[in-house]
């Protein structure tokens, strides 16, 4: 393959490389942080991706008008120093900071905010997340540093939604210059880090934005960031990710398997931090108009038959919180009045309810009623997590005579399949910032068939959700959402499984980070990432 001279020069070069490698410790990497994660995003255009992987990077490359505190409840100033809400709750006036610059040095003005939100809403953009902006009528630049956000109706979620990566302020010139390649070959943002280089499915390199000083106040430093470079490296293998943190090839990640957490905690050079103010819930939902699961008794029995506590302990090593509620009981606007009524593990009662409802155990151990076997069909995502969960639930239900049929699909296909009416039960997990966020997404009748895959069609719920959404008074909002929570819990339209806390594994070379959980992005702006002195 090689003729001789070539081979020799190659050997010479290898020898040189060895010498270099031995002589040079990893000096160059001193101010760089490598974050390993499982999957990449399809692009980094805030209006065109719903992937968590996109948000993780967008939070670092861009800023939003308001920021969300790690407690997931308090809104903090971001690009907007302050804001006022009109009497009728329909107009928000944001006062922007006057010292904000994009990565290319251009100052950010009200025009950019107007452009960003207009593009977000423009039907041409075909944004799948446009609904998050609320009933927006228009965004107006009053002067260079004042923006009015005018809506047709009050929208109490607005500030929370504006803190998400979808509301990132982008640069018009940059978007127009790049066209289709915006968020693919470049991105000009105002965040603590700037676009370096992206090789899809391999890594995303971000460099420090040196002028950045306008970070949210809940960070120790409001900028510039402590580290010079952040590399988001895709490592599909979960064991590799774990040892990468243990051996210092990666300094921080939120994607390590639960089984490895004990080991990471015990390791002298690693640290594990967790936050329960983290809202990501796994559940099974029932299509309440399909045979078998249209019987409330069946849905209740399913809720009673599954031991979430044992699942959290056995499958997830006690690292997750067993769930009995559809949103975390710590979330904004959770209704504490129903705390005592949540359905908890009681298999005998489950059997009793089914008996009373006329579902009798057949010869094969499966219950049936009027010749219909109790065999609901469930669509779930393929992959180790859902395989574990769904097989566990299947086994639990089998004990009370329910024969759950499982049909797993790869994530790329699953979304399409889940938009049909072919199944009785579906498995899903979702991030949310408050009760209202979750309820408005899943329980509005206009959201059928997705994301309201339960076909929960109830006028009263719609009215209450509308009341909560447009409430200008916090108490009214909490009460409306509380009512909806009570209704859907009583109807047992879901089987909640567990609330996943935000878990971050980090090298002890770094200062301990505070996990954030907006859209499941544990590192948020990345301003908390810093090497110890």
């Amino acid at each position: 393959m090689f003729n001789r001279p070539d081979f020799r020069s190659l050997a010479g070069r290898i020898g040189l490389a060895v010498a270099l490698a031995a002589g040079l410790p990893a000096l160059a990497a001193a101010q760089s942080v490598t974050i390993v994660r499982e999957v990449d995003s399809n692009n980094y255009d805030p209006h065109k991706s719903t992937a968590r992987a996109a948000s993780e990077v967008l939070f670092m490359m861009g800023d939003t008008l308001v920021a969300l505190d790690p407690d997931m409840k308090t809104i903090a100033p971001g690009l907007a120093e302050s804001w006022e809400v009109s009497e009728d709750g329909k107009t928000y006036t944001f006062h922007l900071r006057d010292d904000v610059k994009f990565c290319d040095g251009k100052p950010m003005t009200a025009e950019d905010v107007v452009y960003s939100f207009t593009r977000w809403q423009d039907p041409e953009t075909k944004s799948p997340v446009a609904w998050r902006a609320g009933p927006l009528e228009e965004v107006v630049a009053v002067d260079d540093h004042t923006v009015e956000y005018r809506m047709s109706a009050p929208y109490s979620e607005l500030l929370y939604q504006l803190s998400q990566s979808f509301a990132t302020i982008i640069d018009k010139d940059n978007v127009e210059a790049l066209g289709e390649d915006f968020g693919v070959t470049g991105f000009n943002g105002t965040g603590p880090f700037c676009w370096g280089e992206w090789t899809p499915r391999n890594k995303m390199v971000l460099t420090r934005h040196d002028d950045y000083v306008w970070g949210p106040s809940f960070y120790e430093t409001t900028g510039p960031a402590s580290v010079e470079e952040i590399v988001w490296q895709i490592v599909p293998e979960e064991n590799t990710r774990t040892v990468a943190v243990l051996t210092g090839q990666s300094q921080i990640t939120q994607y390590v398997p639960y089984i490895a957490l004990e080991q990471l905690r015990a390791a002298p050079n690693a640290e594990v931090v967790q936050s329960d103010a983290a809202f990501w819930t796994y559940f099974f939902g029932f299509k309440i108009d399909k045979p078998t699961v249209n019987d409330a008794a069946v849905r209740q029995a399913i809720n009673l038959a599954v031991n979430q506590e044992a699942m959290a302990e056995d499958l997830f090593f006690g690292e997750v919180q067993p769930a009995y509620s559809y949103v975390s009981q710590d979330a904004l606007d959770w209704n504490h009045a129903i705390d005592g009524e949540l359905l908890k593990y009681d298999p005998e009662k489950a059997a009793q309810i089914l008996d009373e409802a006329g579902w009798t155990v057949g010869a094969d151990g499966i219950r049936e009623k009027d010749g219909v076997k109790l065999q609901p069909l469930a669509y779930v995502f393929a992959g180790s997590t859902w395989q574990k969960i769904s097989e566990y639930v299947q086994a639990e239900l089998r004990k009370v005579g329910i024969d759950l049929q499982l049909q797993p699909f790869d994530a790329t296909i699953a979304w399409g399949k889940l938009a049909t009416q072919e199944f009785d039960v579906f498995g899903m997990s979702f991030p949310y910032i408050s009760s209202g966020d979750a309820l408005n997404l899943y329980f509005r009748s206009e959201n059928m068939p997705t994301p309201n895959r339960m076909n929960w069609d109830d006028q009263e719920t719609d009215d209450l959700l509308e009341a909560g959404l447009t409430a200008t008074d916090e108490a009214v909002r909490a009460e409306s959402y509380g009512e909806v929570l009570k209704k859907v819990h009583e109807a047992a339209v879901w089987l909640p499984l567990y609330h996943e806390p935000m878990t971050i594994a980090q090298s002890s070379e770094l200062k301990t980070v505070t996990p954030h959980n907006l859209y499941g992005c544990g590192l948020y702006k990345g301003l908390g990432i810093a090497y110890k002195e």
Partner: protein, 312 residues
């Protein structure tokens, strides 16, 4: 010789056409929808319909296939549905690292394998022979992912000498070299076994032949006999094997690249197929097929060089 190469190239054309057809059909059978991938899961049906029309997915299959061939003939492989980068640019950036990995793997494992096999043949029946064969059988039998994980465990974790995530840069830089060691070692380990075993039996075969006895009778040194008269002839089946195994190696590279997050073509193929990125998947299938054709061609040429009889 040249006629032979031309002949082979002409023969490759129907093969290539078959690959294009197969790649096209396979992705028709995959239960994903390119329009859904492009539009995102939350897109309303009318947007989806429009995108489908734009992509020509509402046309009959034959029309789509013809359009696909036309695009390919014009050198336009389309754009990735996921990253919107051109497929050509994605392929170009992935081929380099894979070629680098292949070279880094072959450059040490083939000479070592041939060396081990020759030594084993010469010292037939000795303890050394048995040891070499034991290692070879191990190399043949262990699955590549297991070797990769062992390599990470020992050289990455117990003795953290080599990094095992990603590519540090071109191979001639210090960082690049350190990063390629573990993947190249893991991939090479599955290669040594078959090469050593084949070399051993082939050398044993050749050493029995008349011309070797003649060479010995002429009073040539044992070294010259084995290297010049034995090994050269013994290499013919080994070259075939290396050719065949290089194809197998591309398969192993898919696993190796995934485990070591190596940004090569194998990982690109897996990623594209898993994320229903059809243009990229078709592109990678085409490139892998071309690689097979090229490797076979090289094997044929080497054959002719090693054994003049093949040329006729």
């Amino acid at each position: 010789m040249i006629a032979q190469i031309v002949n082979r190239l002409v023969l490759s054309i129907p093969v290539l056409f078959g690959v294009l057809l197969l790649g096209f059909m396979l992705l028709q059978l995959v239960p994903g929808d390119p329009a859904t991938v492009l539009a995102g899961p939350m897109a309303p049906p009318e947007v989806l319909e429009e995108i489908r029309k734009q992509m020509g997915l509402d046309q009959p299959l034959l029309v789509q296939f013809w359009a696909y061939l036309e695009r390919m003939a014009a050198g336009d492989m389309g754009r990735s549905l996921i990253s919107n980068k051109t497929v050509t640019s994605e392929l170009v950036s992935a081929i380099g690292p894979t070629v680098e990995l292949m070279v880094a793997c072959l450059v040490w494992s083939i000479p070592l394998g041939i060396g081990m096999g020759t030594v084993a043949a010469v010292k037939r029946g000795s303890l050394l022979d048995r040891a070499i064969m034991a290692v070879s059988v191990g190399g043949v039998s262990l699955p590549i992912f297991f070797i990769c994980l062992l390599a990470i465990q020992f050289l990455g974790v117990y003795w953290p000498i080599f990094p095992f995530i990603g590519r540090g840069g071109p191979i001639w830089t210090a960082d690049g070299f350190m990063h390629i060691v573990l993947p190249a070692v893991s991939l090479g380990l599955i290669f040594i076994g078959p090469v050593a075993r084949m070399t051993r039996s082939s050398v044993l075969e050749v050493l029995k032949l008349d011309h070797v006895r003649t060479a010995r009778a002429k009073g040539l040194s044992e070294r010259t006999v084995i290297l010049r008269h034995g090994l050269r002839n013994a290499l013919i089946p080994v070259v075939t094997l290396v050719g065949l195994q290089a194809g197998y190696l591309l398969g192993g590279a898919v696993v190796t690249e995934t485990i070591f997050s190596w940004p090569g073509i194998g990982r690109l193929a897996v990623g594209a197929i898993l994320s229903s990125d059809f243009p990229v998947a078709q592109g990678t299938i085409l490139v892998l097929a071309l690689a097979f054709i090229a490797i076979n061609l090289i094997v044929d040429i080497l054959y002719a060089l090693l054994d003049p009889r093949v040329q006729t």
